[in-house]
């Protein structure tokens, strides 16, 4: 059975940061859409196919990422969407808040492409490689 290409929605007010994340996710086989704040992201959910995963920045104008997460988790129709925070907010209490609000995972900036890939594997959105990478370099 062929699986449809996984969809990602990248939500960050920085175009350069969205660009980095888009490159990483495209490399992992995702089709990507972008939104510059929580409000735009909600509009994207209401139109077009639902993403498998949203990468959500916290601090954004108009509507921040935390509010976006609470809005998504309140909607029955959006329950299947995986929510992963990608943010500089790194206080222990902030991580707890986001998870309590319904975020499934949390990436703290700075991150590397491997870091994002690892988290997506934990979430079952990217396959484990057949053998672990272990060669020198």
């Amino acid at each position: 059975m062929t699986r449809m290409t996984r969809q990602a929605l990248i939500i960050d007010d920085s175009r350069t940061m969205r660009s980095i994340l888009r490159r990483i996710l495209t490399g992992l086989g995702f089709e990507c859409r972008e939104a510059g704040d929580g409000q735009q992201a909600l509009a994207a959910l209401e139109s077009g196919p639902l993403p498998d995963v949203c990468l959500v920045d916290w601090n954004m104008p108009v509507m921040d990422g935390y509010t976006f997460v609470t809005r998504v988790r309140a909607e029955q129709a959006w329950r299947g969407i995986t929510l992963m925070m990608v943010t500089t907010e790194s206080a222990h209490s902030q991580v707890v808040r986001a998870l309590a609000a319904g975020a499934h995972e949390y990436v703290i900036k700075p991150f590397t492409p491997d870091g994002i890939a690892d988290k997506l594997r934990l979430l079952g959105l990217v396959e484990q490689p057949a053998f672990g990478s272990e060669a020198l370099a």
């Binding site: 998870l99 703290i108 900036k109 870091g115 690892d118 934990l122 672990g132 060669a135 020198l136 370099a137």
Partner: protein, 298 residues
């Protein structure tokens, strides 16, 4: 900037003397890439000049050896080994060690400690609170041993394979870093140890993780390491190698056991005192909570 033959040989020899790891001629690109940042930081524009400096600078030597032999590591690396630990090994050992209520685990190439602390997290989350776990974390690098002792990691490292729920449960912020909680640090004992040399007396372990280090040794050293390690694994214990490594070339001392995608080594023939052990092989996924009866030797 191409490094000279002499410099490459010197560096390869330095690394081999310190760690027994072999760098072939095919690794010239790697040596250049990893030493270049160090050379720059040391203020040397020329890579060969930097290598010449290594000959008389022990601190720089340590930095160079570390840069060449330390590989990026992550939490719960490859996932499967930790799943099998939780679903197969710990349930078995919960029964087999019910009298002692104590487990000993060895992370035998611990690097910066993510493996040892991942083992600690798995044990903490799957064992009753009145059980004692001791996790020995050894590495050939003093820098790494110190890192394990400190138990502190930066944001980039914390993003590598650690579930956010584990982060909030087991870590606290210390400055810009995250620190492993005392409940886990107290369980992990870091120690300097070179696997390529004769082992000090370490006792027996129920589980040994020897992942992604054998590949750096030549065949003879590999055989020696596995032979020495055999004495440290409990007769009903487990040895885990890296994803594509097997100990088949060590002869009849080990037998392979398959758990899903993972192969686990069990002692086939104990060396030293104790009756010969023939345990029951686990077939397929274990059922959590089922008491597995296994006769232990001695």
């Amino acid at each position: 900037m191409a490094i000279t033959e002499w410099s490459l040989r010197y560096v390869a020899d330095l690394v081999h003397r310190r760690t027994s790891i072999r760098f072939g001629a095919d690794k010239a690109y790697l040596i250049e890439a990893r030493l270049l940042p160090l050379a720059r930081q040391a203020g040397e524009a020329d890579l060969d000049e930097y290598v010449r400096r290594l000959a008389t600078d022990p601190a720089e030597q340590r930095r160079a050896v570390d840069a060449l032999t330390i590989n990026e590591t992550s939490w719960f690396r490859d996932t499967e080994p930790f799943r099998v630990l939780a679903d197969v090994m710990l349930p078995h050992l919960l029964g087999a060690r019910a009298a002692q209520r104590r487990l000993r685990i060895w992370s035998a190439a611990s690097s910066s400690g993510q493996e040892a602390y991942s083992l600690a997290i798995t044990c903490h989350e799957h064992l009753p609170p009145d059980w004692t776990v001791e996790i020995l974390a050894t590495d050939v690098s003093e820098t790494m041993v110190e890192r394990v002792r400190r138990g502190r990691y930066g944001q980039v490292e914390m993003n590598r394979g650690l579930p956010a729920t584990a982060l909030v449960r087991h870590f606290t912020r210390v400055g810009a870093e995250w620190e492993v909680g005392t409940h886990l640090r107290s369980v992990v004992r870091p120690r300097l140890l070179n696997l390529a040399e004769p082992l000090p007396e370490l006792g027996r372990f129920d589980v040994v993780f020897l992942r992604n280090v054998l590949i750096y040794f030549d065949t003879e050293t590999r055989r020696d390491v596995l032979r020495r390690l055999h004495r440290t694994v409990a007769p009903d214990g487990y040895l885990l190698l890296g994803a594509a490594e097997t100990a088949t070339d060590s002869g009849a001392h080990w037998r392979l056991e398959r758990h899903g995608r993972l192969s686990v080594h069990r002692p086939a023939e104990p060396l030293g005192p104790g009756p010969a052990y023939r345990g029951t092989a686990h077939k397929g996924p274990a059922h959590k909570g089922t008491a597995t009866t296994v006769t232990t030797g001695g």
